[in-house]
Symmetry: C2
């Protein structure tokens, strides 16, 4: 939802269809997560089918809600700090969309208080950025405007009241055990976020699922701890769904704008993006000859990773590229051209849709608070 | 405003008119306070004239505002936890009233969020208790209903936004240096309180004074630190005014309801109160004979302390009692009867006024928030 707290280097990304790599398996074990089982979710999206979504907490409960058509919600937050989003956010939206299509009440909150306090973006500016870009971007990525409920954190007194209340339910040591660190600013962000996460249940106690990057697990644990600690059982412990990181184009770390040469943002000029793609790390061999003979290594290729996570919807098409690479038929130059073409189409389509959706923001369902 | 953080034992209470006892002098020195100078404040109230008000921060600024008729504010908070207040609160109200009469804009906030989170009093219940008792009690103790502005913390989004913002301006170590301890609940209370303290300045930057018991100084220091740290200079650092404690009737510690036999609350049944007064520690001698000869010791007498702090407005009357005690004319039995009579009158008057003022609460000036 906001600052990532834990960092896991994603040096190796598991190939399409393969089992989890050691790093993610370790995360599941260490943090006591549920492995994601694609069989338990009807019509899984590509992230689920391809192992990009790899774990969660209390996934069984949500699976049951979907199958038995029982009420549940999906929630996420927008930090309206600048006019860009990253590919990690795109995955979150894809997962929100999945649960929305499976019947979840959908909540998107704009974390304007956090943006103001942590990044100096005034509430007015944060609101403007959300309306002009972030919300249209989420719609562009596939959320149904008619089925999504929005609110601004700064408008939501109930969330602030919960944050106040929850602050009394945790000790500094417990906070530190979850987050590794503790300071007043982080504590305020975290307890407010727990308020946001549980807010939909003020109306009705029900399961909810929060799709996030694995770095956000501390927030989920805090929310679940607070719920467990409440004697009144007013809230249902939230479930979560974790996806792996999008790696940087050089394959070294998580994609991050702090390393712009290895990062693609949304939106970004397609020409500039193509230049970056041309320099991306692939699974190619030292010589063309060698690659024709031995085949490429899509498991190590950032281009393939981008196809898998973001650019190719159709599994057969992805499999075909995988096979052609493995056989040495598809060489890296051609593949990068293809990636560039697909990426350009995606970026243009995204910008066009953001523009169209910007016109619709006034008609969206914003919660009106007294 | 709410939980006392620091405790200073008030074993010895300085006598009427005398200089500060060592303990309070030490507090002034250790915490870098200004000594309260009665000459700098026009028409000082009895607490000021008698050295019960003994220190503050940036008192000169407020003195100047009064003399030059410049705008300033006085602010205090009500914790609507139960249907009693203590005599320390009575002193706070007396000092608020003083500044109100000297032209200060007067703000009283109801800390219903704190009452809910820390003491489990629901917001509805807190609101009811404030309207039924605490606000009428403050009016009964002399606040001008026409000149006092009230708000409920839970209604005030601006305060919650400030709390969020301020949480990012302090580190855990700074917090610990001020409060001695740090945990999420305390941090939330403290930063919210800073929001309350500075709230009147959102409209106009101006000096403000917060009259409190000396145990509340950490909150004042935090507010002043936050102000100093703000680059935008949006706020003026608040001043504060400190009064000494009302001692327990046995003279051993600060009066506290945790020791009910030594504590008087408002309201309380006068008969019961008189029984407690009869058992109070005085400055009497071992025998009547000795007391007639040597005189009593009003400096050590809790009855005299009660006269000084609470029951006798007229300085001459107080002086007369002091002199008669010193000369051995006024013996403890007679004095306790007198105290009981004055206390009964006060308690009955208080209850009557609370009743009358309860009818007026609907007409008070509550800030209406959007």
């Amino acid at each position: 939802m906001n600052q990532p707290i834990l960092y896991f280097m994603t040096k190796i990304i598991d190939p399409y269809g393969s089992e989890l790599v050691e790093d993610y398996a370790k995360v599941i074990k260490e943090f006591g997560l549920d492995s994601f089982s694609v069989k338990k979710f009807p019509k899984p999206n590509k992230l689920m089918r391809r192992g990009v979504v790899f774990a969660g907490r209390d996934l069984e409960i949500v699976s049951k809600c979907i199958k038995e058509k029982k009420p549940f919600y999906v929630l996420s937050g927008i930090m309206p700090t600048n006019d860009k989003i990253h590919f990690g956010t795109k995955m979150v939206v894809e997962n929100i969309r999945y649960f929305q299509e499976q019947g979840a009440e959908t909540y998107i909150l704009i974390a304007d208080l956090e943006a103001a306090a942590a990044r100096g973006v005034s509430l007015e500016e944060g609101r403007k950025r959300a309306m002009d870009f972030h919300i249209p971007a989420y719609l562009a990525l596939g959320l149904d405007p008619k089925k999504t409920i929005f609110y601004f954190q700064s408008d939501n007194k109930a969330v602030m009241h919960m944050a106040y209340e929850f602050s009394k339910k945790i000790t500094l040591n417990e906070f530190r055990a979850i987050y590794g660190v503790a300071d007043p600013g982080r504590i305020m962000s975290a307890v407010t976020q727990v308020g946001d996460v549980l807010f939909p249940q003020l109306k009705e106690r029900m399961p909810g699922i929060i799709p996030v990057g694995i770095d956000q697990d501390p927030h989920i644990r805090l929310a679940r701890d607070v719920v467990k600690r409440s004697k009144d059982k007013k809230f249902f412990p939230v479930s979560s769904l974790y996806h792996k990181y999008t790696p940087s184009l050089d394959g070294r770390v998580k994609m991050s704008k702090s390393r712009p040469e290895s990062c693609i943002e949304l939106p970004e000029d397609p020409k500039q993006v193509c230049k970056k793609i041309m320099r991306a790390k692939t699974g190619g061999r030292d010589t063309t000859e060698e690659q024709r003979k031995k085949g490429g290594q899509p498991e190590k290729c950032m281009i393939f990773e981008f196809y898998k996570q973001h650019l190719i919807e159709d599994d057969k098409e992805l499999q075909n590229i995988y096979d052609r690479c493995k056989k040495g038929e598809l060489l890296c130059g051609e593949d990068k051209q293809l990636c560039c073409k697909k990426m350009t189409a995606f970026l243009k389509d995204f910008e066009e849709k953001v523009k169209q959706n910007k016109k619709k923001v006034d008609k969206l369902h914003f919660i009106q608070f007294k």
